[in-house]
Amino acid sequence: MTTNILPMLPIILPFIAGVIMLFIGKRPIPHRMVSAVTGLMMVGIAAFNIYYVYKNGAMVTFISNWSAPFGISVVYDMVAALLVFTTSLVMFFVVIYSFQSIGYERERYYYYPMVMFMITGINGAFTTGDIFNMFVFFEVFLLASYVLITLGSRKIQLQEGFKYLVVNIVSSNFFLIGLAYLYSVTGSLNMADIHIKLSNYDGSLAIMTLVAVVFIFVFATKAGLFPLYFWMPGSYSAPPMPVIALFGALLTKVGVYAIARTFSLFFTSDTAYTHQVLLLLALLTIVAGCIGALAYTDMKKVIIYNIMIAIGVIIVGFSMMDYAGTIGGMYYLIHDMIIKAALFLLVGFIIYRTGKNDAADLGGLIKQHPVVGWTFFIAGLSLAGVPPFPGFFGKLYIVESAFDNGHTFSAIIVLLSSLIVLYSIMKVFIKVFWGEPSEPIELKDIKSDKLLFSAIGLVIVSTVFGLSADFLFPAFEMAAEAFYNPSSYSNYLMGVE
C-alpha cells in the first residue's frame, strides 16, 4: 500500500498544486500560499522517502499494475530519493525567494503553476524506470521551462528563449532517434530490463557504441557539456533571477543524472571507448568553464560558467564508474544543486539591491550588508571545496578515483579547476564587498527579508550537509551502488518474473 503511493507523491503533488492554482486564476497571493505549502509538504515527504528507502531498499511501483518489463515502472532508489529531496528543497527556497523578486505581473501570468509543472517533470525524470517515460518527463519540464524563460516577454528573454527552444527541440528529437535504435537492438524500454538483456547477450555489441554516441549528444546538450554548451551562457542569463536559480540548479543536473544512469546501465560493453569520450568531454568542459569564469566580471556569467566546471567535475567522477568515483560524483551532484541555487540567490539579492550586474561597478557593500558578505564568502569556499564544506568530500573521492584509474592528468585538471573556481568567486567577492566603488552606488530600497531568508537558508543547508557528511555516508554509498554495480538496480525485476 505505501510503496504504491509514496514514490508517486513527488510527481503527483506539484501537478495537483499547479492545477489548483490554474483554478484559482490570476490571483498571486493564493498562488504563493499554495506553492509554499506544497514545497514544505514535498520536502517532508522526500525526507521520509529517503529514510524509507534506506530502511527497506528501493521502492518500485508499476503504473496501472502492468508488471515490469511491459508497463511503466517507477523505481525510487536511493539516487532518486536524494535527488528528489534536493529538488524539493531548492524549489521550496526558490519559491519563497520569488515572492519578493519575480514581480507581480509574472506572478499573475501563472509563474507558480509553471514552476510546479517543471518540478513534476524533473522529479518524474529522476524516479522513472522506463527510458521512454524519461523522455516524456524531459519534455514536460522542458515545456514548462520554455514558458518560464519567456515569461514576462522582455526582448532579451524572447530572443534567447527562441534559441533555447530550437536547441532543445532538436536534441529531444535525437533522443527519440537514440531510443528507436535502443529499442530495435534490445526490444525493450525498461531500463533494468535493457541492462539484463545486454549483459546476458554474448555477441558483438558494436552497435551500442553508436547508440552511446547519440545519447552523449542528447544529454550533453541538455547538461551543457563541452562542444554543446554554446546555448547556455546566453539563455541562462536572460530570465529573472529565481528562474535562473531553478534552471542552473536543476535542469542541467537532470542531464547529468541521465548520463550517469544510461552509461552505467546500457553502455557497459565498450567502456574503453564510451567512457573515455565522456571523460575527454568532461575535461574540455572544465577547461572551457574555467576560461569563461576567469574572463567575465558579470556576476551572473561567472556563476553560469561555474555550473559548467561543476558539471565537468561530476562527469569525471561518473566516467570512472568505480566505487570512489560514483560516490564522489553523487555527493558533488547533490552539493552542487544546493550551492549553485544559493549562489544565484545571493547574487540576485546583490543585483536587486544595487541594480548593477557587473561586479566591477560595485564595491564596499560589506558595510551595509555584512551578513550577506560573509555568507557569500562561505558559499564561495563551499563551491571551491575547502575542507569543512561539502564540495571537498565530493572532489576528494573524484580525484582519488581518477588517480586510482591512472588518469593522473584528469585529476590534476580537477584540482586546478578548484583553484580557478576559488579565484573567480573571490574576485567577485572582493570587487563587490571590499574596496570603494568607482562611482557611488545607490542602494535600492527593496523588501528583502524573504530574499535573505532563502539565500542564507540554502547556504546553511549546504554547510550542515557538509558537516553531516559522515552521518550521510551510508546513504551515498547505497546510492552509488546503483551506478558501479548496476545489477543492484535491476534486481527488482527478479521478484517480478
Binding site: V136, S153, K155, Q159, N173, Y183
Partner: protein
C-alpha cells in the same frame, strides 16, 4: 520495405536540417516539425514493419504487430504538437516585440524601451 522508409526518413531529416539552418524563424519551425516527422517514421521502422493483427489476446490470431512503436509515436506526436503550437505563439510574440523574423538580427543584447 524497411529500406524505403529509412531512406524516406533520411530525406525528411535532411530537409529538416536545411530548413533549420535557414534564417527565417518560420522556416526553422517548419523544419523542426519535419524533423519530428522523420524521427517518428524512424521509430516505426525500428519496430519492424509487418502486417499483423491488433495486439489483443485472441486464440485464432498468430501474427501480431508490435504495438509499442505505435504507442511511442502517438506520445511523441502529442508532444511535438504541443511544441509546434508553443513555438508558433512564441514566433508571433517575437515578431511583435523584436520586429524581425530574421535570425541574423537576433544577436547581442536588445534593450527594452
Amino acid at each position: 520495405m524497411e529500406l524505403v522508409t529509412i531512406i524516406l526518413s533520411g530525406i525528411l531529416i535532411a530537409s529538416a536540417t536545411y530548413l533549420i539552418l535557414s534564417k527565417s524563424v518560420l522556416r526553422v519551425i517548419v523544419g523542426v516539425s519535419i524533423l519530428s516527422h522523420g524521427v517518428h517514421l524512424m521509430i516505426l521502422t525500428m519496430g519492424q514493419l509487418k502486417r499483423g493483427n491488433v495486439p489483443v489476446l485472441d486464440d485464432t490470431v498468430s501474427t501480431y504487430s508490435d504495438p509499442l512503436p505505435q504507442a511511442l509515436i502517438l506520445t511523441a506526436i502529442v508532444i511535438s504538437f504541443a511544441l509546434t503550437a508553443y513555438s508558433l505563439v512564441l514566433l508571433l510574440r517575437n515578431y511583435k516585440e523584436l520586429g524581425t523574423d530574421n535570425t541574423e538580427d537576433m544577436k547581442g543584447v536588445p534593450h527594452d524601451d
